[in-house]
């Protein structure tokens, strides 16, 4: 093929590379670049639907301003979405790491337990989880069945206890959200050579020490991937309130322009959060890269 086109070896290599990813580039243009551009255009204009289709007239940043000034729901919803994300992502990461460490040992019944721990990946995404939540199936019965609140209240003041129990209640949700993360951590743990642990043991390191000196630095990249994944997942979940708010604006009141503007604000917020994540991990990631 390359010979016919009269390309050099290098040229042919580049041509072949591009032909492999060409389908992705077409898709990228059709389903990402054009829609993104259009939605930016929508968000900056007033749209009126007429017989010829949508009619646009330039409106500047009106819609962006409206989101913060006239819309009473948007800012509180955005705040609650961000706080949920901030409280849940660390928990998800800790829990996923803990589970991965548990599952990474060799013990009888390992395959079965792994199968169970990945169950959330299979059933807990999307609409089904919402059904369960509405029916209260995702909350463990211990919290309300044994009247834990009044019993613990004798020891702990109410101000501390209430948020604590709320946290514990959301813990089951956290567990259900951490399926993919457990998977990524396990795959990461598998790549650590056992020789490292042996060497550490010979030098008299305890398990606790070898976790912090070997395991933790070695799975730093997976921690980074998982943080990114959890943040994105938390922002784009189906039961996300911001998402519903945007959809309501677009499809119930047909306010395409305002919906697009909110979508862009939301996107910018997510980008800022992700940039912070990148910044936090930058140092530790470059450290592991240098060693590898």
């Amino acid at each position: 093929m390359g010979k016919k086109l009269g390309l050099s070896m290098r040229g042919r290599h580049i041509f072949e590379g591009y032909s492999f990813i060409s389908i992705w580039i077409i898709g990228f243009l059709l389903f990402m670049v054009i829609p993104l551009g259009k939605s930016l255009y929508f968000s900056l204009n007033n749209l009126e639907s007429s017989k010829e289709g949508l009619k646009a007239s330039y409106a500047g940043l009106t819609h962006y301003r409206a989101a913060f000034t006239t819309d009473v729901d948007f800012v509180p919803l955005l705040q609650s979405t961000v706080t949920t994300m901030l409280s849940q992502v660390p928990l998800i990461l800790i829990f996923a790491m803990f589970s991965a460490l548990l599952l990474n040992r060799h013990f009888p019944g390992r395959t079965l337990f792994r199968g169970i721990f990945f169950l959330p990946v299979i059933i807990a995404s999307g609409a089904i989880l919402r059904e369960l939540l509405e029916q209260g199936a995702a909350q463990l019965p211990i919290f309300y069945q044994y009247d834990l609140f009044s019993k613990l209240n004798a020891f702990i003041p109410e101000d501390i206890l209430e948020p604590l129990l709320e946290y514990a209640d959301s813990l089951t949700l956290v567990m259900w959200d951490s399926g993919v993360q457990i998977l990524i951590f396990i795959a990461g743990l598998q790549t650590i050579s056992p020789a490292l642990y042996e060497a550490a043991r010979c030098d008299g390191a305890t398990k606790w020490e070898s976790f912090w000196k070997i395991t933790f630095p070695m799975i730093m990249p997976m921690l980074f991937v998982n943080t990114l994944y959890s943040v994105v997942n938390s922002f784009t979940k189906t039961d996300n309130q911001i998402m519903n708010h945007i959809m309501n604006n677009v499809f119930k009141s047909n306010n395409y322009a305002y919906g697009s503007a909110m979508g862009w604000i939301y996107f910018i917020v997510i980008s800022v959060v992700l940039a912070i994540v990148f910044f936090i991990f930058r140092k530790s990631l470059s450290a592991t890269e240098g060693r590898g």
């Binding site: 093929m1 290599h13 580049i14 590379g17 591009y18 032909s19 492999f20 990813i21 389908i23 992705w24 898709g27 059709l30 389903f31 990402m32 829609p35 993104l36 929508f42 949508l54 589970s99 548990l102 013990f107 169970i116 721990f117 990945f118 169950l119 959330p120 990946v121 299979i122 059933i123 995404s125 609409a127 089904i128 059904e131 509405e134 029916q135 199936a137 463990l140 567990m175 259900w176 951590f185 396990i186 795959a187 990249p221 991937v225 990114l228 922002f235 784009t236 189906t238 911001i242 998402m243 945007i246 959809m247 677009v250 395409y256 919906g259 697009s260 979508g263 939301y266 996107f267 980008s271």
Partner: protein, 326 residues
Amino acid sequence: MSSPSMTEKYAGLQGKAEEVWKVTWIKRGRGIIGTIFYYLVILSLAFVFIYPLLYMVSKSLMRPEDVADATIQWIPKEFSLRNYSIALKEINFWPGLLNSSIISFGSAFLQVISCSIVGYGFARYRFPGQALFLAMVVFTFLVPPQTIVVPLFTFFLDLGWVNTHLPFVVPALLGHGLKGSLFVLIFIQFYRTLPNVLEEAARIDGAGAFRTYWMIMFPLAKPAMLVVFLFSVVWHWNDLFEPNMYLLVPEYFNLAQNMAFFNGNANLELQQAASSVSTGTLGMAPTLQNQIMAGVMLTILPVLILYMFTQRYFVESVERSGIAGE
């Protein structure tokens, strides 16, 4: 002279042996306690994961009388499939199953092929602009669907693709669609772990770039394929967002949509029942819930069965597919 020292020595040795025994027993005891503790922790976590499933199965098999009976917590006195037969009709099971299957399996199949081709291109070739395109793959993953949903909808509307399966299938064919960029990244990681030797041999034997890929490299990517396929099927199956966008007529609804519809109706009925207590319809509420549970079970049953059969390979594949990234 020598005999007392011998006995002393013997006694000393015996003492030492006893000490060694003690230490090993303590160690072993600790090991046993550790193991018990370990199993306790992992069992309780596993229980949390299984709990909703058990809850659903139990509730869905109960008859109205069992729900009212306070002595029955988990196991109904008589297993009844009545809830299932009602739910089967309410969620429009068979047409929904067909639509869900076409969307899920069709998209998953196409995504496996297209994403693996793209992933291979990124993993094995060096070309100008590669870093930029790779960054764009990650970028695609990060853009929330809400941001571009309006233009996409009008785009598909103009093409006349709304109320067909094309908005799911065509992006999948081009390596996009639901979480397509994540799948591309998985394949990139996997192909990077494979040695170059095989391709070089094929190229020397005169195979072209695409032929080498298709005959040699693609079949080697089975672990990554399995992971991507299963993820794609499951995520498409449970997805409600995109179907709600592009499938607006009940006859094209997938199972998740039908289920949401049934749930919405049921909740409405519950509210009405609650507001008209005097008519004595209070008994309705728990029964309806059981029907919803049966509906949810029916909705996830196909993927659950798929997972049961592939679970073993799935877990092994995850370890070998290099999903963990760098």
